[in-house]
């Protein structure tokens, strides 16, 4: 999970986030190669004593330094487009949850089950247990089953919010009057945190999201205890 001074991504908890991290690593490698090459060329200028005051043109080298960048861009664009279309795929979802953003809490409704809905408020810091996460823990967590394709429908009841869980690679604005859809599968059990990502008023920083993923049985037992 995110902790202070962490530089990179959180560990992926869904296949899409794994692919995003792979693409990031690949693009970063290409960028580092380019920067190293250009940096080396610039540094070597300091030690170069050759001069040609009558240099007019160099057709071959101009061809090379036009074609090569174009090739590099193609090598970056192809995996990028593959990932872009992969993110938009809608596999058949196993469960659907509806998330409504309010000032300043989230309300969840499990559309497939009868009467499972609850509000999720941040725990105020002085009501937090000693092992709690400040500004991240909530009173009612969103429980999801592992390895099940989940469809999340996101909207808002007052102003624009944004629902995100970085470890799962999902973020979508909660716009009043509009229903946005994201789809993901959590591939390991655990707690995954996120925070509202669109300025929505005084307590915008204090409406976090917590996803708790467990086995299918534990999930269904939680559903039956929540719908009572």
């Amino acid at each position: 999970m995110a902790s202070w001074s962490s530089l990179g991504f959180q560990d992926a908890a869904s296949p899409l986030m794994e692919q995003l991290i792979f693409f990031y690593d690949y693009a970063m490698l290409v960028i580092i190669l380019i920067v190293t090459l250009v940096g080396y060329m610039m540094a070597s200028l300091f030690f170069n004593k050759l001069t040609n005051r009558f240099l007019m043109e160099g057709q071959t080298i101009e061809m090379i330094w036009t074609i090569l960048p174009a090739l590099i861009l193609i090598f970056i664009a192809l995996p990028s487009l593959r990932l872009l279309y992969l993110l938009d795929e809608v596999g058949s979802p196993e469960i659907t949850i509806k998330v409504i953003g309010h000032q300043w809490y989230w309300s969840y409704e499990y559309s497939d089950f009868l009467q499972v809905s609850f509000d999720s408020y941040m725990l105020p810091p002085n009501e937090l247990p000693d092992n709690g996460f400040r500004l991240l823990d909530v009173d009612n967590r969103t429980v999801l089953p592992v390895n099940a394709q989940v469809r999340v429908l996101i909207s808002a009841a007052d102003v624009i919010h944004s629902w995100t869980v970085p470890a799962l690679g999902v973020k979508a604005d909660a716009v009043p009057g509009r229903l946005n859809q994201v789809s993901f599968a959590v591939n390991r059990p655990g707690l995954f945190f996120g925070q509202c990502s669109e300025i929505c008023g005084a307590n915008h920083s204090f409406m976090p999201i917590v996803i708790e993923s467990t086995s299918t049985d534990a999930f269904l037992n939680w559903i039956s205890s929540s719908s009572d």
């Binding site: 196993e94 409504i100 105020p124 089953p145 909207s155 039956s224």
Partner: protein, 106 residues
Amino acid sequence: MGKSLLQRRVIRVGLPFLVLIVGGSFGLKEFAQLRYDFRNKRSVTKDEADKIGVEMKTAKEVTLESEYEKVKSIDTTSWENIRGPRPWEEGNKLYEQAVERAQSLK
């Protein structure tokens, strides 16, 4: 071209090779099928839910369009623009409500 069919290298080497490649792909299918069986496995189904005793709606009942109809009825115009002290400062009613709510959970 005086050799008989079975003596030609094309047949002696080529035919077993082709049989291996084509037949091997049929054999490999048995192993590769695992990937598709796992990906198509659905763990949260109506049957599983019935075993635990939880009622679950069918996939046809819960669609993007049906949920949108429900979302349309939410009232998005009656909200107050609340400005005020930070949660930990004096006089923040929302914070006091949050503390009460958390204490009622205990």
